[in-house]
């Protein structure tokens, strides 16, 4: 049938300005914290100042009597009804999965864990009353370092588990039949390069602190939350608190960024829900930035031991990866799975014939980790891209030449990888050639040589990252086979109103990605209605009740297909009506540009809008046609899509101070067909910025007692406009074969690619000084002390990099 083959023209591909902007640029927004309800109380949460301690007593009496205070409660008070925060992904059958009480009952396992709650008439009184709560803690030993936590006799985070090891997950290509054995590969290799890379702990630091409002006074308890996952929140509140699901409504209003950090079912949501039910009054709980830094989950925090084997001509023969992944004190929604989401990507775009991957999850007395933009894949890409550079250095080869020799050529797709995936499509040569041209690679290499020769205190470095990622989380069957509790489908509903205007309900839950705009473009093309005539609704379980929300670059890759399907169903539903009005056989109609036309009879046409009105009037409906023009569709992907690209970065390193300055940055991405190039470019800019920030600026640090020492934006330094370079972006386009729009997904590409590009550049600048790695973030002091240590080592008097 023609409709299925209809390649959208018109709206899709246009750089439409965003619909969501109108409210955001004028301040007419609906952030959760803006809400105020009659009788609403404000919650404040007392958090543990200790990383690990037994709670031996809590005196809340003075706080109860404090001005404005209505209620104070502790973990003991709700121990029987508070349930446990969910972990949805048991990655191995023998995973250790301790309970995660929303409010600590008798022990705290990270600094910042909720210990008591005050409900008061205003926020200031609630905060004041926290100071009147007296908690007795019996300190227990803290353990922050993963290797220390695994050592014999280490203090146990969860005594009852008997170990700090959460799980070990292994993949071996020899066992899986997807490749050879890494040990034999290493034995037979001409060179083996072993490196240890450290993925420092990061804080997602979405700009809007989290906020929850719960109104228990209606038939459905309504929860407004600044979340990426309203559907998950509803499901887990019901499931973990034994509440009937149909009595809960969750709304994600305007949400100020997430980056995985709001892909969570939070203690604050549970606590607010419990408080509202206890008090029978609406409550609001808005965190401060300091609380957000402490208590919202962190990201990354892994140690990667990478061994790469190769022949002397540069052909890679094996990749062996051992990971330690810090879980923190508890498992949250996707904590154990996050490092494993990267496990399919350690091979990058290269043809490794043998691969082994082992990951051990480790409990420590720190804030739990979980998804942060890219979730596992940036780490994987970092490891392989850094290792390729280290290998090139060892072989004395140009790092780009080494990559070319090993990557999957464009005529080799679809390509079955050593990790067991099939890369759908791509053209690494094209993206790389374009990037090299924009970058001026050869010119920069010449300048680098000149600076090296003259001993310039400011050295130049060039960093490469040729990456791929997997988008579109995920095929439900794939998720099920890996122990995930949910599926990966997505849904969309179309409601065509009598006047021909269109309401779209999507199960995705955007928080900055511009779905209202992109979805309108897709629908406008599919139904042939004006862009302005489409209203996109999301983030409310009462209306968009079917869905799995927004993360993992899945919204367009998966939700977009559901949307196209739903549109097609609408077109099919209206067809009998059009045929009836045109007095012809439905099979004789073609649908294009919003109208049904009788094939071969140019004048005879009915618009879909006319059909909608006629169907609504229902005066003369053909047999079997319902009196409305709505349709639903869902989509469960059969596989991932694999965008890719080449990012190049040039840095200047001041060897006297260690200061790194990005001189130029080029990003050429291939993300398949693009619905809105403006939005895509914005996603790349933002992603690259976050990746650069990991490389150069950000790190969550703890002191030896387990206190977070980077708990405000003074210490946790996220870059401003003055700290980031102008980046040059371009695209090549290899359509995704399985997707009706040819789209692959873009939300995480920038973050995944940029971190290794920057660090490779820093190391490249310093290799002549004997530097082989710089730990992230490459702050001036880190860089300088690494140089100093390398100089000391080469002059023979030892010395350690700090």
């Amino acid at each position: 049938m023609t409709v299925t083959e209809h390649r959208p023209t018109g709206e899709v591909g246009r750089d439409r300005r965003r619909k969501e902007d109108a409210r955001l640029i004028t301040g007419r927004t609906s952030w959760t914290d803006n809400l105020s309800l009659p009788g609403m109380l404000h919650l404040a949460i007392l958090r543990s100042p200790m990383a690990h301690a037994r709670i031996t007593g809590i005196d809340v009496t003075p706080a109860r009597g404090a001005p404005g205070v209505i209620d104070v409660f502790t973990g003991q008070d709700v121990a029987d009804i508070q349930g446990s925060l969910p972990c949805a992904w048991a990655v191995t059958p023998d995973i250790k999965q301790p309970a995660h009480p929303p409010l600590a009952v008798d022990e705290v396992r990270f600094a910042g864990e909720p210990v008591a709650v005050v409900a008061a008439r205003d926020q200031a009184s609630a905060l004041d009353a926290l100071e009147a709560i007296d908690v007795e803690y019996e300190p227990m030993p803290a353990v922050m370092d993963m290797e220390a936590a695994l050592a014999d006799g280490a203090p146990l985070v969860h005594e009852s588990l008997g170990t700090n090891k959460c799980y070990t997950w292994v993949f071996d290509s020899a066992e899986a039949g997807t490749g050879g054995d890494v040990a034999s590969a290493a034995e037979a290799a001409d060179v083996v390069v072993r490196s240890r890379y450290v993925q420092q702990r990061l804080i997602p630091a979405f700009m809007e602190p989290r906020s929850v409002v719960v109104d228990p006074t209606q038939d459905q308890i309504t929860v407004w939350s600044s979340t990426q996952v309203p559907h998950f929140v509803r499901f887990f509140l019901a499931f973990m608190l034994s509440m009937p699901e149909h009595k809960i409504r969750v709304i994600a209003p305007d949400v100020g960024g997430g980056f995985g950090g709001k892909l969570q079912v939070t203690a604050e949501e549970f606590i607010s829900f419990l408080a509202a039910r206890r008090l029978g009054r609406p409550v609001k709980c808005t965190e401060s930035r300091a609380e957000s830094m402490l208590a919202a989950h962190h990201g990354r925090d892994m140690i990667q031991d990478v061994e790469i084997s190769a022949r002397s001509d540069g052909t890679v023969t094996g990749l062996n990866v051992r990971l330690l992944a810090n879980m923190g004190g508890y498992l949250r929604l996707l904590t154990p799975a996050t490092p494993l989401l990267g496990r399919y990507m350690y091979n990058g775009i290269y043809k490794f014939p043998a691969h082994r991957f082992e990951c051990t999850g480790v409990f420590t007395t720190t804030t739990p980790t979980d998804a942060y933009r890219g979730a596992g894949r940036p780490e994987a890409t970092f490891a392989v891209e850094r290792a390729m550079d280290d290998l090139a250095a060892k072989l004395g080869m140009d790092p780009m030449e080494l990559r070319r020799r090993n990557w999957v050529r464009h005529d080799e797709f679809p390509f079955d990888t050593v990790t067991g995936l099939t890369y759908d499509s791509g053209n690494y040569e094209a993206a790389t050639d374009r990037a090299m041209e924009l970058f001026g690679y050869d010119e920069l290499r010449r300048e680098q040589r000149a600076r090296r020769d003259s001993g310039d205190p400011v050295q130049l470095g060039i960093g490469i990252s040729t990456y791929t990622e997997m988008c579109g989380l995920a095929p439900s069957r794939w998720l099920g086979s890996l122990g995930y509790a949910a599926g990966g489908w997505e849904s969309a509903s179309i409601r065509m109103l009598p006047t021909g205007k269109v309401e779209v309900l999507t199960g995705t839950s955007p928080h900055g990605q511009g779905h209202e705009t992109a979805w309108s473009q897709i629908v406008a093309d599919q139904l042939g209605v004006p862009f302005e005539d489409v209203e996109v609704m999301h983030g409310d379980t009462r209306t968009s009740y079917k869905g799995l929300d927004t993360y993992g670059s899945r919204s367009l890759a998966v939700g977009g297909i559901a949307l196209v399907e739903a549109c097609k169903r609408v077109v099919e539903k209206a067809r009998p009506m059009a045929a009836h009005m045109l007095e012809c056989d439905p099979a004789d109609l073609e649908f294009a540009d919003g109208a049904y036309r009788v094939k071969g009879t140019p004048g005879a046409a009915k618009s879909i809008t006319e059909c909608a009105l006629a169907i609504f009037a229902a005066h003369d409906l053909p047999e079997g046609v319902e009196p409305y023009l709505d349709a639903d569709a869902s989509y469960d992907p059969v596989d991932f899509s694999f965008p890719h690209g080449t990012h190049l970065c040039a840095v200047e390193v001041d060897t006297e101070t260690g200061m790194v300055t990005i001189r130029s940055y080029v990003a050429v991405d291939d993300i398949g067909r693009v619905v809105n190039p403006l939005i895509v470019e914005g996603q790349v800019h933002g992603g690259v910025a976050q990746g650069i920030a990991q490389a150069l600026f950000e790190e969550a640090r703890y002191d030896e007692d387990g206190n977070l020492t980077t708990g405000t934006f003074v210490e946790y330094t996220i870059p401003s406009a003055a700290d980031l370079p102008q980046i040059v972006t371009d695209r090549t386009e290899t359509p995704a074969p399985g997707h009706p729009l040819g789209a692959k997904g873009v939300g995480e590409a920038g973050t995944i690619a940029s971190t290794p590009a920057v660090v490779n550049a820093v190391v490249d600048a310093l290799r002549p000084l004997g530097v082989t790695d710089v730990r992230m973030p490459c702050t001036p002091e880190r860089v300088w002390s690494t140089i100093a240590a390398a100089r000391a080592a080469s002059s023979g008097d030892g010395g350690e990099a700090r």
């Binding site: 926020q123 200031a124 004041d128 100071e131 101070t657 600026f697 405000t712 003055a722 702050t779 300088w784």
Partner: protein
């Protein structure tokens, strides 16, 4: 976060402020631009019982010419200081440093006097005041007194100001015929100085006649780099001579290790930045 409750009074005169602050003793705090105080109150790292707002004291705002010196009112904002023609003409070093403080919004409220009174070791203006041989005019329960910069900065976040004291103005001797530069080292635009160097140079006939150098964040208080100054006096205006002199930047310094940097790293930075500051100040 919201500060803990406090009493508030808006002083109508300097005498009012002194009386109110003296009455409150250790529980009282002057409120100038609030750009250091309010974040501390919000995090509840400080909880004074009484805030005495100096915001209404218009007589403490502005810059005036007083013969061989400028007098800068304590309540003059960083933004006003860095734009003031008199400052540009006679004390450009102050304008250069003020421009590096925080960001636009902070400079619109934060004050020159507040920065000095706060005496953060990472603050950029104390070092500049020291290099300029500034003199502070202080109103206190015992009347007015003058405190030279070299005696004003006493310790970590501690000045010669006692309870009831209000910094009224700062007298800055004009540097005529000098060229200056403030070299601030920090990784991110918004961050405070890891180390900063204030340098002023007077050149004559191809050599350096005189130099003034002070270091930010190389100790609990700003440090005057007398060794460098001595080495530069009469030295040829060449890169080598400056580099050699800058090597003495650590004399008198005792840098701390804190959350931002180690003492060892600061020790590396100080001579490098001193060299750069003096080179830039001297137009070399």
């Amino acid at each position: 976060m919201i500060p803990a409750a406090f009493d508030y009074t808006r002083a109508a005169t300097v005498e009012d402020a002194v009386t109110a602050l003296a009455g409150a003793g250790d529980d009282g705090k002057a409120l100038a631009g609030g750009q250091s105080l309010l974040p501390m109150l919000r995090l509840r790292l400080a909880a004074p019982a009484m805030l005495v707002d100096l915001g209404g004291l218009t007589e403490l705002r502005g810059v005036r010419d007083d013969g061989d010196a400028l007098v800068i009112g304590a309540m003059t904002t960083h933004d006003d200081v860095m734009r003031h023609p008199l400052v540009h003409e006679h004390a450009p070093l102050i304008a250069q440093a003020a421009e590096t403080v925080g960001d636009r919004q902070i400079r619109h409220l934060g004050t020159f006097g507040g920065s000095l009174a706060h005496a953060d070791p990472a603050g950029d203006l104390p070092g500049v005041a020291l290099a300029m041989d500034a003199v502070m005019s202080v109103a206190g329960p015992g009347g007015m007194r003058e405190v030279p910069a070299s005696e004003f900065f006493v310790d970590y976040f501690t000045t010669a100001l006692g309870p009831g004291d209000v910094l009224v103005s700062v007298r800055v001797p004009k540097l005529t015929g000098w060229t200056t530069h403030y070299e601030k080292f920090h990784q991110l635009a918004q961050s405070w100085s890891v180390v900063g160097v204030a340098a002023a140079v007077r050149r004559s006939n191809g050599s350096i006649a005189e130099a003034r150098v002070a270091l930010t964040n190389m100790g609990v208080t700003p440090v005057r780099a007398r060794g460098v100054e001595e080495a530069l006096r009469g030295a040829p205006a060449t890169a080598d001579a400056v580099a050699a002199a800058a090597g003495r930047a650590l004399e008198g310094a005792s840098p701390l290790t804190d959350g931002t940097a180690s003492a060892e790293y600061r020790t590396q930075l100080a001579p490098v930045l001193t060299r750069r500051a003096v080179m830039a100040a001297g137009g070399l």
